[in-house]
């Protein structure tokens, strides 16, 4: 097991290097740069070429690509992401500010998704082809059909028109004011969590149906084991693995992928930062964010694989 873990961790290195090369080159293929975004896109009448050259020099954009790349890679090896080309602030600071919100939202949305998906999926499987099953299926298909940002807009409109209330517009950390914090984040967590629970519910239902037809379940029933025990001790452990994978990967996605939902609820999260960094051609910040998301995906995948072995003793790695 230990050697498996070490091998998996080492395998991440070439993957991350590939991601680094790809994002570095892709960003530079797209027309425009941060200096143009800063000075030309604003519609101002006087545009100084000298100023733009000066700014490019300050940012190192006048250097050959190989030098820019090696300089960036050198920084990465020292865990120094450098400065944002747009704000001039340390990237670590730019990310840290948004990370708390994005992490909390990802945890809350994943919790909502898990709390909905697992019981509903089990219930639908247990009551297959009854009205309960149909109701759960309609509920989950509706969740799949509705984009979470649309549901978010709907939530805001209902709160605004019916209750004449809006969530707070500025993020307050949980430890500063839990009420303000939850009043802001519970709504996007519900909107996003519901969307992701839909996938999980359907996956849970089908996995459960498959497991419930297995011989060992029939044997357990024949032995007279209580239904609750059959479900928790035998069926759930086997059926939950694919659901765990989906929810875990979605967690990684939620960290940096909630762009529109963040816009709708005016959340200062990593998704918005990502989009703005790309739109502004902030190469250093975009590169750092891509590396952060790629690393998160790899780590989550790794943790899920290890969890598989822990949950299902039949899966052992040599």
């Amino acid at each position: 097991m230990a050697s498996y873990i070490i091998k998996r961790l080492l395998a991440m290195v070439p993957t991350l290097f590939g991601v680094a090369v790809l994002i570095f080159l892709l960003l530079r293929v797209v027309p425009g740069d941060v200096v143009e975004a800063r000075y030309i896109g604003q519609g101002s009448q006087f545009q100084s070429q000298e100023l733009m050259q000066l700014e490019r020099k300050k940012l190192g954009l006048d250097q050959p690509l190989w030098r820019q790349f090696t300089s960036w890679m050198g920084g990465l090896l020292r865990l120094d992401f450098g400065l944002s080309m747009w704000t001039g602030a340390p990237i670590i600071e730019e990310i840290r500010l948004r990370f708390a919100l994005s992490l909390q939202l990802a945890i809350m949305a994943s919790t909502v998704a898990t709390l909905l998906a697992i019981p509903l999926g089990i219930l639908a499987a247990m009551k297959q082809d009854t009205w309960i099953d149909y109701a759960v299926r309609v509920f989950s298909i509706a969740g799949l059909a509705m984009p979470s940002f649309w549901l978010g807009i709907l939530i805001i409109l209902v709160m605004l028109i019916v209750f004449r209330w809006l969530p707070p517009m500025v993020f307050t950390p949980l430890w500063v004011n839990p009420w303000e914090n939850l009043a802001q984040l519970i709504w996007p967590a519900l909107a996003v969590g519901y969307r992701y629970s839909a996938v999980g519910t359907r996956m849970m239902r089908s996995a459960m149906l498959e497991v419930l037809r297995e011989d060992y379940i029939r044997t357990a029933r024949a032995k007279g084991l209580a239904l609750k025990l059959i479900l928790t001790r035998h069926a759930l452990k086997n059926a939950i693995l694919p659901v765990l994978t989906i929810i875990s990967l979605e967690f990684a996605f939620l960290l940096g992928g909630l762009v529109v939902t963040e816009q709708v609820f005016n959340l200062n999260g990593l998704g918005m930062l990502f989009v703005e960094a790309i739109a502004r051609r902030d190469y250093t910040l975009t590169q750092a964010l891509v590396m952060l998301v790629a690393t998160t995906f790899l780590l989550v995948n790794f943790v899920v694989d290890v969890a598989y072995a822990w949950i299902d003793p039949r899966i052992r790695y040599r």
Partner: protein
């Protein structure tokens, strides 16, 4: 000149007095407003975006300012300068500073600080960026003969110097700080403005609190302000509708205005103005048939601007039919004169018949196809792009629209890989020097992507810029406009943007102007409850 200034000052004072009689400002409260963009740095001398002005301008003063009560946004009045005189040859401007203006660290502002600030803008030291340096090419030197006097010596008389000195970006900085670290103000805030900086949480908000030592006694009226960064326009509208925000200073769409008014009724006040921003169509003069002025003029003649004004103003942030100046401002061509220009005629059929005739004369076949490059921004690029294509089809042209992502747009336009393209400019004050510079020959202004040389146009620009006679300048601006839009048709104007500010009726003491860069110092603003 002194008499004119005195009269202007008296008129301003009278207007303030009348306002005061009408409504006595109430002190206290926090003004909350969403800002659709965030400043990259805090240095007004370096940045171009309103995302800097809206949250940061309240911390600073400028030497002059645009009268906050002037709806045309063109009347220049004193700010830190209490008065000024102009020499008879128009080449020396002497400003007297008012006393008692203090920086937020308690030190007094003197002429040395004004000189240092303007030296940074006009003659930046090596390694320091100044984005508006080109606007002050007429200035030879800035001097501070004593603590309360600043002198601007010019190479030639300039009709636009005062407008330039009223730029809301020209924050006055402390000389001692600039001497030690010229880039200090990029990451720090310390001015003389009506509000003192409290905090900036990146991506979230900026907070300022009342400056108790502000030189303009009795101001500001607000205890504090909170600028909340909010990119999504629907979220901004929801914030005003949900009464979580009082106002958004940039502008909303006609639909947003109508929805807010319908939802909140008397709780909403709507202020509107022509907006000193315009989208225009440029032609790559190096590509055939756009090297032929008959073709360019035909494309302008194909447009029914008057009908479009009625229809598009219902759905987009555009309205007035305009030339090179915002309608209703001092140097704008009156509508009856403007309507004589080709492309501005009120008879659309006659105009289109002329367009077809010109296309035939130029040898452009019926059904000629070309690509129109547009920027990937929904409002108002999208509705205007659709309108242009529809209008051009009516004279037998077949147009394909190429929408290019916003940040990469100007890279493509500058490369010359275009035929016809949408271009854009926005100003902080309506002034011929600012608004017409864009159209000078490409060798003089590389930001003219039309790739043409027109020495006649350049000469007209220089002449109007150097005259101090208002009437003569009006004539020259008119001649420039006629050459640009009709004779050579280098560019064609779409419609002037229209600024719509629906705000909480509690917000008082704020006047909409044609520029969303103006009236953001917040010293005159107050909340009625």
């Amino acid at each position: 000149m002194r008499r004119v200034i005195r009269l202007a000052t008296l008129a301003t004072a009278a207007s303030f007095a009348l306002s005061a009689i009408a409504q006595t400002p109430r002190n206290g409260g926090e003004l909350i407003f969403p800002v659709p963009s965030e400043p990259p740095s805090y240095d007004g001398h370096r940045e171009e975006t309103f995302g800097l002005i809206h949250p940061i301008a309240p911390f600073y003063n400028t030497l002059l300012r645009v009268d906050p009560t002037d709806i045309s946004g063109t009347r220049v009045v004193p700010s830190v300068a209490s008065s000024w005189t102009v020499s008879s040859d128009g080449k020396t401007y002497t400003f007297k500073l008012r006393g008692g203006v203090k920086f937020h660290d308690g030190s007094e502002l003197t002429a040395k600080d004004v000189k240092a600030s303007y030296d940074k803008i006009i003659f930046p030291p090596p390694g320091v960026g100044s984005t508006r340096q080109g606007q002050y090419v007429a200035v030879e030197a800035v001097e501070a003969p004593d603590a309360t006097t600043v002198v601007f010596r010019l190479k030639y008389a300039s009709g636009s110097l005062l407008a330039g000195l009223a730029s809301p970006y020209n924050f006055l900085y402390k000389a001692d700080i600039l001497a030690k670290e010229p880039n200090w103000y990029e990451k720090n805030i310390m001015g003389t403005g009506p509000f003192v900086f409290v905090e900036h949480v990146k991506g979230s908000h900026v907070v300022g609190k009342k400056n108790p030592d502000y030189w303009d006694k009795g101001k500001p009226h607000l205890d504090s302000f909170r600028a909340i960064f909010m990119r999504d326009s629907a979220a901004q509208v929801a914030a005003v509708r949900g009464e979580r925000a009082h106002i958004q200073f940039r502008g909303f769409t006609p639909k947003d205005r109508d929805n807010l008014k319908a939802a909140l009724g008397d709780k909403i006040t709507v202020q509107e103005s022509p907006w000193d921003c315009i989208l225009m169509v440029g032609f790559n003069h190096e590509k055939k048939p756009f090297d032929d002025k008959r073709v360019r003029r035909a494309l302008s003649l194909a447009l029914d601007r008057h009908e479009a004004s009625k229809a598009l103003s219902q759905i987009a942030i555009v309205k007035a039919v305009a030339g090179v100046q915002v309608p209703g401002t001092p140097f704008a061509t009156p509508p009856e004169e403007l309507n004589k220009l080709a492309g501005y005629w009120t008879d659309a059929e006659k105009s289109r018949a002329e367009a077809r005739k010109l296309l035939r004369e130029a040898g452009v076949p019926d059904g000629f196809s070309f690509t129109f490059s547009n920027r990937g921004i929904p409002m108002p690029y999208e509705p205007l792009g659709v309108w242009l294509i529809d209008q051009w089809r009516k004279v037998g042209l077949n147009v394909e629209q190429r929408v290019i992502e916003a940040a990469g747009y100007y890279g493509v336009i500058r490369s010359g890989d275009t035929e016809a393209f949408m271009d854009f400019q926005c100003g902080y004050i309506v002034d011929p020097d600012l608004d017409m510079y864009k159209f000078l020959s490409t060798s003089r202004n590389p930001a003219n992507y039309g790739r043409y040389e027109d020495p006649v146009l350049d000469e007209l620009y220089d002449k109007q810029s150097r005259t101090t006679s208002v009437e003569e300048r009006k004539r020259l601006v008119g001649a420039f406009e006629k050459r640009l839009l009709e004779e050579e048709a280098h560019y064609l104007m779409t419609l002037q943007w229209h600024r719509i500010i629906p705000h909480s009726a509690k917000v008082k003491g704020w006047q909409v102007t044609p520029s969303h860069y103006l009236n953001n110092t917040l010293d005159t603003v107050w909340l009625s409850e």
